[in-house]
Amino acid sequence: MGTPENGGGGPEQVLADLGLGAVAAWKQRTGRKAVGHFPVYAPLEMIHAQGALPVSLFGGWGQIEIDHADSRLQSFVCSITKSTLELGLTGRLSVLDGMVFTNICDVARNLSGVWSRNFPAMMTVFLHMPQNVESPSARAHLASELRRLSASLERLTGVAYDPARLAESIALYNQDRDLLRRLEAVREEKPWALSAADWYLLLRIGTVIPKEEHVRMLEDAVAAAEASTARPRDGVRVLLLGSFCEQPPLGLVRQVEEAGCFIVEDDFVLGQRWHTRPIREEGDPLEALVDAYLGASRPSAVRHHGAHPRQRHLVERAKALRLGGVLFCTAKFCEPALYDYVLQKDALEAAGIPYLHVEYEEKMSAFEQPRTQVETFVESILFN
C-alpha cells in the first residue's frame, strides 16, 4: 500500500506527515493548486475537474499540542477544529491554496469565518448545502452554490468550468467509490479478510493523494481482499456510527476489533463515499452532482433526511447486516453525533438491538478503558 510517487511510506506514514509532504510533492510535480476541505462533504469532483487536488483535513493525527488555537477557540470545541486551526496558525497548511467549508455543524460553519480572517491569502469558500432536501427549490439553490464554487476555483486555478472535464472527474470518483464499495462488501461478508484498521487507512489515504493513484491502490487491495483465503474467525458483527467527521485514533479502531468485534459497516471518512449510488455520468454533470446530493446521500448526522429519519434507517441496517450490536463511536463535543445518539439508541432499544457508546478525542493515547468497555459489550452479546 505504499505511495512510491510521493517518496514512499505506507498510508500511516503519509497521513502522519501533518505538513502534507505528499501534497507538496504533487504540487511541485504538477505545478497545480491544492484545496483543503473540512470534512464531511465537499464537491470533490468539481475541485478535481478544475485542476486542483482536494485534500481532506482531519486535524493533528494525535501528534500535536494545541498552543495557539486555544486562544482562538473555547475549551468545549472538538479536537479536529482546534488541531486543524493549530496546523494553520503554525504554518503547516501553507501548502494549501484554498479551503472549502460546508454547514455540517455550527462549529465548522463558524470556523470558516475564523479561517478567512486568519488566512486572508487563502481562498475560503463556504457552501450552504440545502437541508430542506424535499423542497423542489433546493435543486436551484444547490446548483447555484456549485456554480459559485466553480467560479472561485476558476479564479484560483485558471481552469474554467468545463462539463466534459467534470463528467470525467465524476467517472473517476465513481470508479474510486465503486472499489470502496467492493471493499465494504468484503468487510460485510468476510471481515477477517481485511482488518478494520487496514480498511480505515485505505479510506483515509484517499483524502490526500490524487484520486488516480488511489484507484490503483484500491484495485490492488480489492483483488487481494476478494481473493483472500484467510480462515474465518469468530467475532461480534457491529456497525460503527458517529465517526463521520473527526476520526477516531487508529489505536482505537484496532482495539475495537481486538476486543472481539468485526466492524462490518462504519461511517469513517464519510465524505469519500458520500453517495448511496454512482453519480449519473450522462447528461449535465453539474445537475448530476445536485441530484446525487439531494437524492442519494448516505444518512448522516450532518444532513436532515426528511421523511425517513436516520434512527429508522439504522434499525433497518442492523437487521439487514445481522448485527450483534451497534457501536456509537463519537468525537468528544461532536454535537451532531451526540444528538443523533439519543434517537438512535432509543430506536435500537425498541428493536432489542444492543449498543455501546464510546467517546474519543485526538490526544487520547491509552485505550484500556474503551477496550474494556468493548470487551464487556462483546461478552454481554455472546452470553445473552
Partner: protein, 416 residues
C-alpha cells in the same frame, strides 16, 4: 441618579400581563383544539403561522423562562438521564426535560405541537432539536432552510430560495390547521409587526444618549420579549409605544440604569439566565451600562434596517429570516460590533461566551483577538452558560470582571 419608580415600571407591568395572557392561552390550547406551531426565535415566520390559525410556542423562550425561574437544572438533568450528553445545548435539554415532565412550565402547561416549523436560521442544533420533537410528539416537521450569509449581504438567489419554501410552507400550514391562507390577513399582521419594529429600533437608538436611559443588554433582553413572543399583534405595538415614551422620559430626565454611568460597553453573547441578577450586579458595581448588545438582536436586526413589509410580504419575511444575527458570517458580526462601539461611543467590548450555543460562541475568542489587536478596543471575555446553572462560577467571574474594569479605570486616570 437611578430610575424613579414612576418611570420604571409601566412597560414592565404591561409585559407581565401580556405574557400571562399568552401563557394562559397556551395552557388550554390543546383542549380548546387551537392548532399549535412550535417555532424558534431567530428568523421565525410567526406572521405566516398566525395567518393560518396557529398559536406559536417558542421552546427557547420556555427554556429561558425556566432559567430565570431557577428550574432549569432539574429539567436538564432529566434530559441527561434520557441520554443527552453534558456537552450539548442546555436549551434543548431544558425543553426535552419539560416534555418528560408533562410540559409543566412555571407559567403553566405548554401545549403539544401540531406542527414544528424549524426555521433553521443560524443554528444547526435547531434541526436536531425539532427532529427529536418530531419523533417524540409524532408532529409534522417542516424544515425551512435559511442559507447562511456567505458574502456581505443576503443574495437575491437566497431570497428566492426562501420565498419558494415559504410558498410551500403556507400550504403545509393550511393543511395542518385547516385555515386557508389569505394574503390580505398576512399583510394586516405584517403591518402590526412593522410598527413594533419601527418603535423598538427607535428605542434602541436612545442608548446613544449619556447616560443611556436603559441598559441595552440587561434591560433590553427583557424589553425584547414582546417583539420576540407577540410580534404581529396590536398589543405588541402598544407596548413599544409605551416603552418609547418611558425611555424618552428617562433620557430627558437624565435617568439611567446605574447610579453613575462610568463605563459604556457593548455586549456580545447571551446572558446566563439562571444567574441573571448576580451577573448584572458584577457589572453594576463598576458603573457599567451596556449601550448596545447583539443578544437583544437575536429576534431581528431591526436597528440595522431589517423590516417586515406588508407590501412585499413573502420577500420581506425571507429577508428577515436570513438577516438574523447568528445567521450573519463572522465578518458581518465583527463589523456590526465595531459599528456599535463607534456609534454608541463605548469604552469596551464584553463577550459572554456560552457553551450551549456554539453558533454564538465559536469565533468569539478570535473576535477578542481582532478587537484588542486590530481595533485596540479593550475587550473582556468571560465564560459560563445561558441555560445550565452548573457553569456559572461566580468568584472566578468576579475576579475577571473586577480586574478588567480596574485596569480600565487605571488607564483612564493615567491618561486624564
Amino acid at each position: 441618579m437611578t430610575a424613579k419608580p414612576e418611570f420604571r415600571d409601566a412597560a414592565k407591568e404591561m409585559q407581565k400581563e401580556m405574557l400571562a395572557r399568552y401563557y394562559g392561552a397556551l395552557s388550554t390550547a390543546n383542549e380548546d383544539r387551537r392548532p399549535v406551531a412550535y417555532l424558534f426565535i431567530p428568523g421565525n415566520v410567526v406572521e405566516l403561522t398566525t395567518a393560518t390559525g396557529f398559536l406559536p410556542v417558542y421552546p427557547e423562550i420556555n427554556a429561558l423562562q425556566c432559567g430565570i425561574k431557577k428550574v432549569a437544572g432539574d429539567l436538564i438533568l432529566a434530559a441527561e438521564d434520557k441520554g443527552y450528553s453534558s456537552d450539548v445545548c442546555g436549551y434543548v435539554k431544558n425543553d426535552i426535560g419539560l416534555m418528560l415532565k408533562d410540559r409543566q412550565h412555571p407559567w403553566g402547561q405548554i401545549p403539544k405541537p401540531d406542527l414544528l416549523v424549524c426555521n433553521y436560521s443560524g443554528c444547526n442544533t435547531f434541526i436536531k432539536w425539532f427532529e427529536a420533537l418530531s419523533e417524540f410528539y409524532g408532529a409534522r416537521l417542516y424544515l425551512l432552510d435559511i442559507p447562511y450569509v456567505r458574502g456581505d449581504r443576503a443574495s437575491p438567489s437566497d431570497i428566492d430560495y426562501v420565498v419558494a419554501q415559504l410558498r410551500e410552507l403556507t400550504e403545509v400550514c393550511s393543511s395542518v390547521s385547516g385555515v386557508p391562507f389569505r394574503e390580505e390577513r398576512l399583510r394586516e399582521i405584517l403591518e402590526q409587526t412593522r410598527r413594533a419594529e419601527d418603535l423598538w429600533a427607535e428605542i434602541l437608538e436612545l442608548a446613544t444618549r449619556r447616560p443611556t436611559p436603559f441598559d441595552s443588554y440587561f434591560e433590553a433582553v427583557f424589553y425584547m420579549a414582546p417583539i420576540n413572543i407577540l410580534r404581529g399583534s396590536p398589543e405588541c405595538v402598544e407596548y413599544y409605544r409605551l416603552l418609547l415614551e418611558e425611555m424618552r422620559h428617562r433620557a430627558d430626565e437624565g435617568v439611567g440604569p446605574v447610579a453613575e454611568e462610568k463605563f459604556r460597553v457593548v455586549f456580545e453573547g447571551p446572558p446566563p439566565w439562571p444567574h441573571f441578577r448576580a451577573f448584572w450586579e458584577l457589572f453594576k458595581k463598576w458603573g457599567v451600562s451596556a449601550v448596545a448588545s447583539t443578544y437583544s438582536k437575536v429576534g431581528g436586526l431591526y436597528d440595522q434596517g431589517v423590516r417586515h413589509d406588508p407590501d412585499r410580504p413573502l420577500e420581506s419575511i425571507a429577508e428577515y429570516t436570513i438577516n438574523c444575527y447568528t445567521n450573519w458570517n463572522w465578518r458581518m458580526r465583527s463589523d456590526l460590533l465595531k459599528r456599535y462601539v463607534e456609534h454608541y461611543k463605548a469604552d469596551a467590548l464584553v463577550i459572554h461566551s456560552v457553551k450551549s450555543c456554539r453558533s454564538f460562541s465559536v469565533g468569539q475568542a478570535d473576535l477578542r483577538e481582532q478587537f484588542m489587536h486590530e481595533y485596540h478596543v479593550p475587550t473582556l471575555m468571560v465564560e459560563s452558560d445561558l441555560a445550565d446553572p452548573r457553569y456559572f462560577q461566580e468568584a472566578q467571574l468576579r475576579n475577571r470582571i473586577d480586574a478588567f474594569f480596574e485596569s480600565l479605570q487605571h488607564q483612564r486616570m493615567v491618561t486624564a
